[in-house]
């Protein structure tokens, strides 16, 4: 992982060769996996990502991927037992994910109006989990080391303006108060190029 991180940093530092860059603002839907899915079964419809890529080669872009994905579920009243202690009521569960990643993409058909690409990101993800029950709230959080593979399609509608559809999988390794946190996102939005 360290090597990938260094490669991305070096690529970003050498990005003055080509002037073009992409800035994408995308709406995100999230689908939890593993522990996140166990905690909140419902998908997230509240999220966005901001992606920036500097094209160091016509087919290679490096930059960053920032985002926010809010998962929420109001559980029906239930009984939770720990040893000889039981408590019951409605739980309101929140899981907020804030990925902050260095990212690199490989574009398969640069210059074409339809341009599929694959990408990879590495960095950190802040995971904030709140479990509210009655007037009490349990907060758990973590700064996870995170990776994120990505596939997507760029569609250039006009010069300087493209649309983008991407699928990403964010995976944050176990850290802080939380086990590993993973989720898929389906994203679509605008891309501004210059």
């Amino acid at each position: 992982m360290k090597k990938i991180f260094i490669i991305l940093l070096v690529a970003a530092a050498s990005s003055t060769t080509y002037a073009q860059s992409l800035t994408a603002l995308q709406y995100s839907m999230g689908f939890g996996t593993g522990d996140l899915s166990d905690f909140i079964g419902k998908p997230s419809f509240r999220g966005f990502t901001i992606d920036y890529r500097n094209l160091v080669q016509p087919n290679v872009g490096v930059g960053f991927d920032l985002g926010w994905h809010a998962f929420y579920e109001a559980k029906a009243s239930d009984v939770y037992t720990i040893g000889n202690l039981s408590y019951s009521g409605k739980q309101y569960r929140y899981n907020n994910q804030f990925p902050l990643l260095f990212a690199a993409d490989y574009y398969m058909q640069p210059g074409e109006s339809v341009n599929p690409f694959v990408g990879f990101g590495v960095g950190t993800m802040y995971s904030l989990r709140n479990t509210d029950m009655g007037q009490y709230s349990l907060k758990e959080d973590a700064w996870n080391f995170a990776i994120r593979p990505e596939v997507g399609i760029l569609y250039e509608a006009n010069p300087g303006m493209s649309f983008m559809v991407t699928g990403k999988y964010y995976y944050g390794f176990e850290a802080g108060d939380l086990p590993a946190q993973g989720y898929f996102t389906l994203n679509f939005g605008f891309v501004f190029t210059k």
């Binding site: 603002l25 901001i50 809010a70 039981s86 408590y87 019951s88 409605k90 009655g134 007037q135």
Partner: protein
Amino acid sequence: MISKNKLAILVAGVCMLLFGCYPQGPEFTEDLDVVLTHFQDDYDFESKNTYARPNAIVKITGNLQEGDDPEFIPDAAAALILAQIDKNMEALGWDKVDVSANPDVLLAVASWETTTIFYYYDYWYWWYGGYYPGWGYPAYGGSYTTGTLFMTMIDPEEVGANGNAILQWTGGVNGILTGSYDATRVNKGIDQAFSQSPYLKIN
């Protein structure tokens, strides 16, 4: 091409839209009701048959050891709560007896109210208030009162190392109190406390 300003406005707009529809959690007071139960796992409930309880529900307030008089919740409300507790105990197989009849366990019921005052004031006040006293005091916002009904079961024959009674079973029904006594809500909480304590069943 898009200017940085337009992009910033667009990003801010999307953020505001998403934060605006951030889930708000509970909608009704009863959504905040919580029932908690605890038992001593080395206590043999099944070998017991009878219980006694007082005919009043004491308020946990003041300090009885310093001579304060005990306060009780109104008789009408207490009667409804105690009847619901009896109904559940009977369904689990327990017989209610007088305290003079040497009951196997004593079931004490108490209520505890706490009022939380909250302010809408600028929360930076704690820092600048001392430096700028002329700015006035924080504005009063409101308050809510939380009520907890405690049901505790003790065995008069068993005393802990410190000389105090051991709470063999505790049931707590906690929620935000509204202006009027809501029998449905309280009964539901009491029923839930017994329902999640299957080890109390002796028949």
